[in-house]
Symmetry: none
Subunit: 203 residues, 4 copies
Amino acid sequence: MANNKQKTDKYQRILESAVKVFAERGFHESTISQIAKEAGVADGTIYLYFKNKEDILVHFFNFKTRQVFTLFREAVNGAEAAEGKLRNLIHRHLVEFQQDRHMAILYQAETHRTNRLAENQIREMSKLYLDLVAEIVERGQQEGAIRRDLYVGLVKRLIIGAVDEVINTWLHSDGNYDLPSMADPLVDLLFRGIGIRQPSSLA
Amino acid sequence: MANNKQKTDKYQRILESAVKVFAERGFHESTISQIAKEAGVADGTIYLYFKNKEDILVHFFNFKTRQVFTLFREAVNGAEAAEGKLRNLIHRHLVEFQQDRHMAILYQAETHRTNRLAENQIREMSKLYLDLVAEIVERGQQEGAIRRDLYVGLVKRLIIGAVDEVINTWLHSDGNYDLPSMADPLVDLLFRGIGIRQPSSLA
Amino acid sequence: MANNKQKTDKYQRILESAVKVFAERGFHESTISQIAKEAGVADGTIYLYFKNKEDILVHFFNFKTRQVFTLFREAVNGAEAAEGKLRNLIHRHLVEFQQDRHMAILYQAETHRTNRLAENQIREMSKLYLDLVAEIVERGQQEGAIRRDLYVGLVKRLIIGAVDEVINTWLHSDGNYDLPSMADPLVDLLFRGIGIRQPSSLA
Amino acid sequence: MANNKQKTDKYQRILESAVKVFAERGFHESTISQIAKEAGVADGTIYLYFKNKEDILVHFFNFKTRQVFTLFREAVNGAEAAEGKLRNLIHRHLVEFQQDRHMAILYQAETHRTNRLAENQIREMSKLYLDLVAEIVERGQQEGAIRRDLYVGLVKRLIIGAVDEVINTWLHSDGNYDLPSMADPLVDLLFRGIGIRQPSSLA
DNA sequence: GATGAATGAGAATTCATTCAT
DNA sequence: AATGAATGAATTCTCATTCAT
């Protein structure tokens, strides 16, 4: 068991080191040696835990998918109404990505490539997120909080795009302001829009 | 003159071939030989027009920045009111990116990397876009079409993020549906939001 | 220990192969592949032991500087009087350079270039030699064997130049005559000069 | 004729530019483009006057051989006695090499390489010099100024080596002192040697 | 003669992956 | 399991030389 734990430890250490190195330099600019050094193991050891360099990325997205989406699911479940669910989801998203900058960087880079490296894992991850959003929208429509005349596919893109861009801007800014504090104004914008309501139309 | 034209031709040919190859395989997976072959020139010829591999990307962003943003500016100027301006901008954006898929792919990939290759060029390009959006928002606020209680920085991210994600989804979808047709519903979403207006608040 | 020895062996093997190839073809005409082939290793292996091609030359001069100058120092110490010291030094010099023709060729070539490759190492090596000669001259002047009306800097050049040229001529001659046998007549020439003593001046 | 002169002019310009560039950077580090730029002609033009890069060096040594050795011959003829002849030769040598630093650098570099580029030309040049020295020695022996118990081959090396080393030291020194002023003390050293004459032997 | 754009062979160097220890 | 030395394929970039204009 101690052995088993050690094994897992080394796997985790390599995985985290790789993510750190990938985030700092980019996947292709990173070398196995750098990862090995960061993890404090020999180059060859990495191949005992991962098939090859790309496999590390696959494992990373697999691992993070599970871990983060469990949290996202919890966040959505933590509120009854659609707006609360969306607020919780986005807030949790921003919290997690702020906490793990390396993950945020890798996620941004790989989800916006066309010939993705961990294509399957990313597709699955995206699907999970899209499903969460779809669920919220549907719920909101049932409870009368969200318009029924919406193309849901577009709503998803609006939400995901806005959140991604908030994170992207944060990653490229020097002053590290507090990311999760953007959740509330963002949800407000998503629900209310940027336009002024025209009372005349209600007359 | 024929000489001059040929020179320009070869520069253009290499640039376009490079963008094509970069878009198909990613920058680092692309080789100079592939680009040369695609352009129908010798490997060495590329170095007569570009300092090195990365320089091609820099030239590409420089060239496209000028070309595309002239069009974006025209689009914004093509309408009086803020909503029209935004609609025109987004529509033009989607039209241009649909027309040049290679550009769209490169743009998506490079604007979401942290250690960007053509950093300066991308920053400049982003700035131009952000300024256009800021201008629209300001105009909208003056004419009473856009809320005054907005954090403009966040509005920019909402808009840009949504447009980017619409493009990103299109790039990753197989069936190539018509991208510019997303402009209208997207602008509607941005202005009206996803939420239902609550008449009770007007009582 | 066997491991350690092998490591040293490979380093030595590459170094010696490189010197051989450099001597045969010149530094710039030599390729890493030729050196690797000569040493019986893969091209990449060379970079495990040397930073780059020039670094091999630096290591060579560093290594030889130490080894050869220890011998030169011993030779100088092996005689009491200045003439004996000089004879020993030159003899040892010729012996060593005859024994290691590759070294002799590299030394000749690099010490007479203006934009030297292993500049620092060569400067240091030259300094050591010049110091040895200066020491001999000073000693000779004290014991009354060497003229006091000499510009020592010039004496050094006379000696070093003569020795170098003797070696240079040997390197460019086909028939490999015995180099060290030139030591005695050379020292005689250096001490007595080529001119005939004029008794009239003693009258 | 004007045409002919122009041709010669361009030939000369390229030759001198090449020597300058070779001296500054070394033969292999110099490019045809650099030489062409320095000469103010197109790259291709060089191949109208020279077979290839190495051929420039061949022409240089051929040209300089003739030019310089005419001067050396004159210098030797300018004195009656051997010592005067040697003094004149060395003085002229130092004057010429000081005046044309580029030539001096190239000469030093190429005469001390084993796989020389302009081998034949250098051999011829060396032979001419050696013959001059041999002539002086022979003359000196006839007139009773130079010892008869000398191995003339070694005397040549002593003289040439000393002169070369004086030049070499000058080339590698920063402060550009006056080179020809070394001629007199050098000739004195060569004739009288560094040793003190022992009157006892005359008793 | 003169040009200089184009060529493509060739070289240095890197690095993912393997495998003997 | 762990190591890290060794490999060699692959890539970028340079530059002597050619040749159409």
